[in-house]
Symmetry: C2
Subunit: 228 residues, 2 copies
DNA sequence: ACATCAAACATTGTTAACAATTAAAGTTGC
DNA sequence: GCAACTTTAATTGTTAACAATGTTTGATGT
């Protein structure tokens, strides 16, 4: 069960993008990654290739690979796709959730609410994403779960680019409403609430192009920077 | 605009899977692909890596990569995902299709009907897939179109594994009904018909595990086999 | 004949050196 | 001082040889 070097790299970069330590447009230099993670270039190269498949990075021939910078149009498409997929997920979850599932999701929301009182913004995004993905697990469709994993990552990038600093991200209240509908075995209400949740999240965006904030690779992995 | 060797390879293999010249479980040997396409191993390797991202092949460490063999469960998940996505696509298409779009789709259906009278079964699958993808283009959501491209490919594999030989694949009649709803600007009816179409396609499957038919790589590319 | 084991073969995985391309720095001329 | 050009450095792309793993083949003994 020991993950390969390539998988570790992919996970580390996905994590860094998820909680916005790596911002859109940041360059992922091959040698830099070799040094940071202590692997050889071929492995880095394959990891980056895999990441392009997740729409997390874009590869420019002879230039390098960069953290993806979704356009405003792509942002709209991502949210529409999420509504289509998460409505189905919410419906299935309401039909299939066991008592254990519901209890687990409630515990997750408690954690979310607790952390929200603090100001750990990164943690907030990560936990919010985790709720959506756990609900997907409960729904039990691996294909949809994989797509949602992809879409939530892209949502992280979109929030980083177009999100207004003021507004919080996913309201915990919305999540609570969805879970209540699931617990009440009300599939259509759960689906409607999921759609509404995503609409309000999208409404909180400012979809005007803005200068792309780029930061260095080393900033995203401060712990490793000293090790190597 | 000249496609790279890697892209050509990916396209060729995806095509071969789409019209079932490459069947589930077929081994994609690296050296064999080098010989067939006259490229070096590194390029083959990267192409195969990209293909795993499309869920078209699976990679087994130290064993090689093989054309994916979806399980019965995955088949169900794929169809549920398609219903979620294509219902949204049909709805959008009905809202946004121009007269040109509709004319183009009608021409496509004419072609489909014509070929159907012949017995070109491969052509039939390819054209049916193309209709779904063209409708997605009309709907105008690139994210959903990409996912659908992925799902239709997997559907090809699923039909090869679990499809009853008797039944045709996508009925042209179903497609016609969907297009009529689009032309009539009836989004909900279009969405319902799309869902029903996929339900009937899924109902035509025999989801019992069966021996995996494997054929050789060279069989899938008879034209190239002689060149090299 | 069948199972077991061992050696030969074939295939995948890794590494390092080399080539090609792009970005950066420095220089020259106006 | 600024722009255009040349040279230098850094980065990505490619190739081929080597190592490790898995598979097949054939021999051996029961």
């Amino acid at each position: 069960m020991t993950a390969s070097a390539e998988d570790r790299l992919v996970e580390a970069i996905l994590d860094a993008i998820t909680d916005q330590r790596l911002r859109p447009g940041a360059k992922l230099g091959e040698q830099a990654l070799c040094d940071l993670f202590g692997v050889n270039r071929a492995q880095v190269r394959r990891a980056l290739s895999a990441l392009t498949g997740y729409h997390a990075v874009t590869h420019v021939p002879n230039r390098g690979t960069f953290v993806a910078t979704p356009t405003a149009e792509e942002a709209r498409d991502v949210f529409e796709a999420r509504r289509a997929i998460e409505a189905t997920i919410a419906r299935s979850a309401a039909e299939r959730a066991s008592e254990d599932d519901i209890a687990r999701l409630r515990a997750h929301l408690d954690l979310e609410r607790e952390r929200r009182n603090g100001d750990a913004r990164r943690e907030e995004i990560r936990l919010s994403r985790a709720f959506h993905l756990e609900l997907a697990e409960v729904a039990g469709n691996r294909v949809l779960t994989d797509y949602l994993s992809d879409l939530t990552l892209r949502t992280s990038l979109i929030l980083g680019l177009y999100g207004r600093a003021k507004t919080g991200y996913c309201g915990t209240d919305d999540h609570e409403g969805i879970l209540d509908a699931v617990a009440a075995r009300a599939p259509e209400r759960a689906a409607d609430l999921a759609r509404a949740h995503l609409h309000s999240l999208e409404a909180g965006l400012d979809l005007n192009e803005r200068p792309v904030p780029v930061n260095a690779l080393a900033d995203a992995f401060p712990d490793r920077a000293q090790v190597f």
